[in-house]
Amino acid sequence: MGGYLLKRVVSLLPVLLVVAVVDFIIIHLTPGDPASVILGAQATEEELAKLREQLGLNLPIYIRFFEWIGGLLQGDLGWSIFMDKPVTEAIWEHLGPTLSLTIMAEIIAILFAIPLGVMAANRRGTWMDQTFMTFALLGISLPSFWIGLNLILLFAVQLNWLPAAGYQPISNGLLNHFKYLIMPAISLGIMQGALIARMTRSSMLEVLNENYIRTAEAKGLKMWLVTYKHALRNAFIPILTVIGLSFATLIGGAVVTETVFNIPGIGKLIVNSVLRRDYEVIQGTVLMIAAAYVLINLIVDLLYAYIDPRVRYDKS
C-alpha cells in the first residue's frame, strides 16, 4: 500500500507540470493588458509603460515562465497584481466558501440520490422508477443557474424566508452560514444528485441480478438488508467514481452558481481574475484545481480497495 501510494504521488508531478505549461501558455496567448485594466481607460501610454515595467510584464515570455515555475517549486504560486497580495493567500480566502458549498451540495446530492436510485432499481419498470428517472433526467438537463434563479424567486423574493444572495462564514454562526448556502447548494446538488441517482440505479440493476443476491434472499434476509448490505456495497464502485468526479468538479468552483448567488468562492475568483487579466492568480488557481482533481481521484482509487477486498494495489 505504501509503495503504491508513493508511486501514485510521484506520478502526479509530471501531470501537474504539463498542466502548468498549458495553463501558462493559454493565459498568455489571451489578448488583454493588465496594466490598462488597473489604470483604467484614461491612462496615458507613458503611465502604462511604467506600470508594465514595474509588474515585469515587458520581460520576454520564457523568462516570466521560468520565474513562475521557479517560484512554484518553492511553493510560491505568484503575486496578484490586482489584489496586491500572494496568490496563495487569495486562493485560501476564496477556498472556504467553495469548500462549504461543495460539501453541502454533495451531501444533499448523496442523501437523496442513493436511496432514490436504489428504490428505482428495486422497482424497475414501475411508475416509481419512471418518475424518479424522469426527475433525474430533468435534474441533469436543467442548468443550475436556472434552478438557482427560481429558488431565489420563490424563497427569497416571494416567501422572504432566505437571503437572496451573499455569503456568511461559519464564524458568523452555523445557522447563518447554512441560510446563505442552502439555495446555491440545492441548485448545485440537484445536478450532481441526478447523475449519482442514475449511476446508482444502473449499477444496482446489474448487481441485483447477481447470484449472490439470490443467495442472500434464500437465507431469509429482509429486503432492506439484501439491498443495502449485499447489493449496494457491490454496486458502489461506479457510484463512488461519479461522486469523486462531481466533488472534484465542484471544488474547481461552480462559476455560474457562485456568480448568481454572489458567493466569494474560487469560481468568482477565476472569473474576476480573467476580467482583470491577473495572470498569476489565474495560473495559480487552475493549477490548484488540477491538483485537487488528481488528488481526489487518488483518494477514490484508494477507497475502492476499502469497498471491494478483491482490489489490491501492491501486486502487479
Binding site: N122, R123, R124, G125, T126, L208, E210, N211, Y212, R214, T215, A216, E217, A218, K219, G220, L221, K222, M223, H230, R233, N234, I307, D308, P309, R310
Partner: protein, 335 residues
C-alpha cells in the same frame, strides 16, 4: 395415521412475462419429498428444474412479472399464500438452498464467516461471538482445513470446492428440514464432486433432512437418490424409484437420457447417442405431447393430444401414450 410428506408440491405453474408474451416455465408439476429422503430432479438445461426449485421459496424478484399458481405445502404450511415475513422465517432456516455456481453465489465483498454467521444471527438469534464460534464449527464439519483462519477469508481467496463447502455450511448451519441443492457439484472436479455428495449424505443422516437434488447428471442420481423425477419442457414426464427408473424406464425421453451416458465398455470411436433435435422454445410448445417432435415413437395421436401422467405401477408414473410398447430396460425402442 395419514402420512404427511415434508414437502408437497401440487400442480405448480410458474409463468414469466417476457417481451414475446407469457411463457410457462413450469406447467402443472406435482411431487413430494419426505424427511430423510433424497429426490432427484433431472432433465436438460431449460427444462424447468431450477425454476421449480426457485418457486418453492418464491425466489423471484418482486417486479419481475413472475406468476406462481398451485399449492406448495411444507410441514403442512402453504408457501405460495404465505406472507413475505413468514417466508423469510422459513428461508435459510427450515428450507435451505445450495446453488449451482459457488463462484458467483457468494458475495465477493464479505468474508465467508460473515456470510455464514449472518444466517445464524438472523434465525437462531445468536450473538456475534456465538455465531462466529458456530461458524467455525460448521466449517470444520464440512471439512475446511484451518477453519479458524478461513473464516476470515473472502470468497476469491478460496478454491471452487472450498467455496461449495462454504455454501453447504451456510445452507446447513440452521439445521434445515429440507435442503434444495441446485446442481451443487456441476462446477466442480469429479473427485471434489464425490466428496461434496458424500458430505451432503452424511449430514442428511445426522439431521434427517429431505433433499431435493437438481441435476442433469444421471450418474449422480444413480449414486445418491431414492426417487427420481424426470422433467421435460416444464412438465414431469416420468417419476419412479431410482432402481425402477434405471432398470425399467418407460418414457422415450428418459431412455434417451440414459443412452446418452457414455459407458466404459462402449466401443471407442463409436458415436455417442444423442436425442435428435433441440428442446423447443417455451414460446412454441408443441400442441400434443411436448416430446413428440424429438421422439422416435411419435405418431399422429402424440402430435395432436397431450398425454397425462399414467400410473403404470406403484410409485411409477409416466407421461407417454406408448409406454406399453416399451419393454424392460427400454428395449423394443428404435435407435
Amino acid at each position: 395415521m395419514i402420512h404427511v410428506p415434508l414437502l408437497e408440491v401440487k400442480n405448480l405453474r410458474t409463468t414469466f412475462s417476457t417481451e414475446l408474451g407469457q411463457v410457462t416455465a413450469v406447467d402443472g408439476v406435482s411431487f413430494q419429498v419426505d424427511s430423510g429422503e433424497t429426490v432427484g430432479l433431472v432433465g436438460e438445461s431449460g427444462c424447468g428444474k431450477s425454476v421449480t426449485s426457485l418457486s418453492i421459496l418464491r425466489l423471484f424478484r418482486k417486479h419481475s412479472g413472475t406468476r406462481l399458481t398451485g399449492e406448495i405445502f411444507f410441514e403442512q404450511k402453504e408457501l405460495l399464500q404465505s406472507s413475505m415475513e413468514e417466508l423469510q422465517e422459513i428461508r435459510g432456516n427450515r428450507i435451505s438452498m445450495i446453488f449451482q455456481d459457488p463462484m458467483s453465489s457468494l458475495n465477493p465483498v464479505y468474508t465467508v464467516g460473515n456470510q455464514i454467521a449472518e444466517s445464524l444471527m438472523l434465525h437462531q438469534k445468536l450473538s456475534k461471538k456465538a455465531a462466529q464460534e458456530k461458524t467455525i464449527e460448521m466449517l470444520t464439519l464440512v471439512g475446511i482445513p484451518s477453519p479458524d483462519k478461513r473464516v476470515n477469508d473472502y470468497p476469491h481467496q478460496l478454491s471452487g470446492g472450498m467455496r461449495q463447502r462454504v455454501m453447504i455450511a451456510m445452507g446447513l448451519c440452521c439445521q434445515p428440514k429440507l435442503l434444495i441443492a441446485d446442481e451443487p457439484t456441476t462446477a466442480l472436479d469429479v473427485t471434489i464432486q464425490a466428496q461434496i455428495l458424500d458430505l451432503m449424505l452424511d449430514l442428511q443422516k445426522q439431521l434427517q433432512m429431505g433433499i431435493l437434488l437438481i441435476t442433469h447428471d444421471l450418474g449422480v442420481v444413480a449414486e445418491v437418490c431414492d426417487r427420481v423425477l424426470v422433467m421435460y419442457l416444464g412438465q414431469i414426464v416420468e417419476e419412479a424409484s431410482v432402481e425402477t427408473l434405471f432398470e425399467n424406464p418407460k418414457h422415450p425421453y428418459t431412455i434417451g437420457l440414459m443412452k446418452s451416458i457414455p459407458t466404459i465398455d462402449g466401443k471407442r470411436g463409436k458415436k455417442l447417442h444423442v436425442i435428435e433435435g433441440i428442446v423447443p422454445s417455451l414460446h412454441q410448445i408443441p400442441k400434443g405431447c411436448r416430446f413428440a417432435p424429438r421422439c422416435p415413437l411419435a405418431d399422429e395421436k402424440c402430435r395432436q393430444h397431450p398425454p397425462d401422467l399414467f400410473e403404470i405401477a406403484r410409485l411409477h408414473q409416466v407421461r407417454c401414450w406408448h409406454h406399453e410398447r416399451i419393454g424392460v430396460g427400454g428395449v423394443a425402442f428404435g435407435g
